[in-house]
């Protein structure tokens, strides 16, 4: 009985313990191949300061046996010129609202996120667990607020794919970002701050430079948020 408990715990924690560093990395790539932009433009205003900066996604959230679907909206509330900053400048403070509603308009969650705060404004009962909210915070921080600073990054190149990979720490997070060589498109973000909140974000691109699809996965708790851009 005791053995089966420890075995179950080990199996549960195993995904968090496995190294999440991308494989086959060579070190010290020249600065000339570093990507030029921080991360893709998700928002509709394309940096236009006079209009709303929003991204609307068709969303599905799978947590174990539960499946939630609807629309997920991300709105950038503060205008800082963030979208036009180059890779080498540090990020400025912005405020994001992240709202997930079902098809008939009932809200699953409504979060407010800034560089130094995460506030759940509303959360549907079954999702209102402290540990789960911390994981949501990690997910959206990695997507929106944890920007690499070039002189604090370690640079690598992946031998098999040729992708450029940077590793950096920001706050409590250890983050790996992979970029496609040539296009500088951000392909993935992998990060975590502890055993439980390991997050993997994969970006998919259509025609043009902006991501059309994203998958945010938390393997330890078997949660997956799939996003398909509806408005840009």
């Amino acid at each position: 009985m005791r053995n089966s408990f420890w075995i179950s715990l080990f199996i549960f924690l195993l995904p968090g313990c496995i190294s999440f560093k991308p494989l086959n990395l060579t070190k010290e790539v020249p600065e000339s191949v570093h990507p030029g932009e921080i991360q893709p433009n998700l928002f509709t205003n394309n940096g236009d300061q006079t209009s709303e900066a929003i991204a609307l996604f068709k969303a599905t959230l799978d947590i174990r046996e539960h499946h939630l679907t609807g629309l997920l909206l991300i709105k950038e509330m503060a205008d800082t010129g963030y979208q036009t900053k180059s890779f080498r400048e540090s990020s400025s403070k912005v405020l994001y609202r992240i709202i997930f509603t079902n098809e008939i308009g009932m809200t699953f969650f409504d979060f407010e996120l800034s560089d130094d705060a995460f506030r759940p404004l509303f959360c549907f009962g079954p999702l209102q667990k402290k540990a789960l909210l911390r994981i949501f915070e990690t997910d959206f921080r990695l997507l929106l607020t944890t920007h690499p600073v070039v002189n604090l990054c370690d640079w690598y190149q992946q031998e098999d794919s040729g992708r450029i990979v940077c590793n950096y720490h920001t706050g409590k997070y250890n983050i790996w970002r992979s970029y496609e060589t040539g296009t500088d498109a951000l392909i993935s973000i992998i990060g975590k701050s502890n055993l439980f909140d390991r997050t993997e974000i994969l970006f998919g691109y259509g025609n043009g430079g902006n991501p059309r699809n994203m998958v945010i996965e938390n393997p330890v708790i078997r949660m997956k948020l799939s996003l398909k851009l509806l408005i840009l």
């Binding site: 709303e52 046996e65 679907t69 709202i99 079902n102 308009g105 009932m106 509303f122």
Partner: protein, 211 residues
């Protein structure tokens, strides 16, 4: 002068249709409830187009989606979004089928009491029968030129966390639901308008399966 009077008269007529007057007469309320119940019992099928608007306080514009809705007694519902995305939800008794673009999944609502409750609200709202759920909602009545309006205020704490009130607009002629408003506790609102309704026309059972 005549022009001004005409404009004022037009505005009075217009706003008398839009504005709602509360109904307090118990006999009238009883009549409306009976008619809604009678319609619900006599309604075997509903096929309709719908337009859904989501108003959010943080957005200047509304999010608008359109689609088709099918209902067949007792608990078969097909909610199909056609624009701006393709998405189908089928509720078939305790089973939910979802087709999201080219992916199909099925779920058993009985595995989760909460999701089972959400589905009850969806089915009860589109049929209008939610007003009889007195365990979870208090109802109040009003009317305008075209509709009898029933406002449902949740008494259940769990539902109150999500919904402040549901407003159902029943067509005065046939007592079917023309419009639904879901007002959330946080202040956002979803409005669903049903148009091109066909009542009691044959709907094949195949409509409630996914290929």
């Amino acid at each position: 002068m005549h022009k001004i009077i005409s404009i004022i008269a037009f505005l009075l007529v217009y706003y008398s249709g839009v504005a709602q007057t509360k109904i307090t007469d118990t006999a009238q309320i009883s009549f409306i409830r009976k008619q809604i119940s009678k319609t619900a019992m006599q309604t075997e099928t509903i096929a309709s187009e719908f337009t859904q608007e989501k108003k959010m306080s943080i957005l200047n514009d509304r999010i608008i989606t359109t689609g088709k809705f099918y209902f067949k007694k007792e608990n078969l519902l097909r909610w199909e979004y056609t624009h701006p995305f393709s998405y189908i939800i089928i509720i078939r008794n305790h089973e939910i089928l979802i087709r999201d673009e080219d992916q199909t999944k099925s779920y058993d609502t009985q595995s989760s009491k909460v999701f089972s409750e959400v589905n009850k609200i969806i089915l009860g709202s589109v049929r209008g029968t939610l007003l009889y759920d007195e365990k979870n909602f208090i109802s109040s009545f009003s009317q305008n030129h075209t509709s009898y309006v029933v406002t449902l205020t949740p008494v259940s704490q769990k539902i109150q966390e999500s919904l402040q009130r549901i407003v159902m607009f029943f067509n005065r002629k046939n007592f079917t639901v023309d419009r639904l408003e879901m007002h959330e506790t946080a202040g956002d609102c979803t409005i669903i308008n049903f148009t091109d309704k066909h009542i009691n026309q044959p709907i094949s059972d195949e409509k409630f399966f996914l290929d």
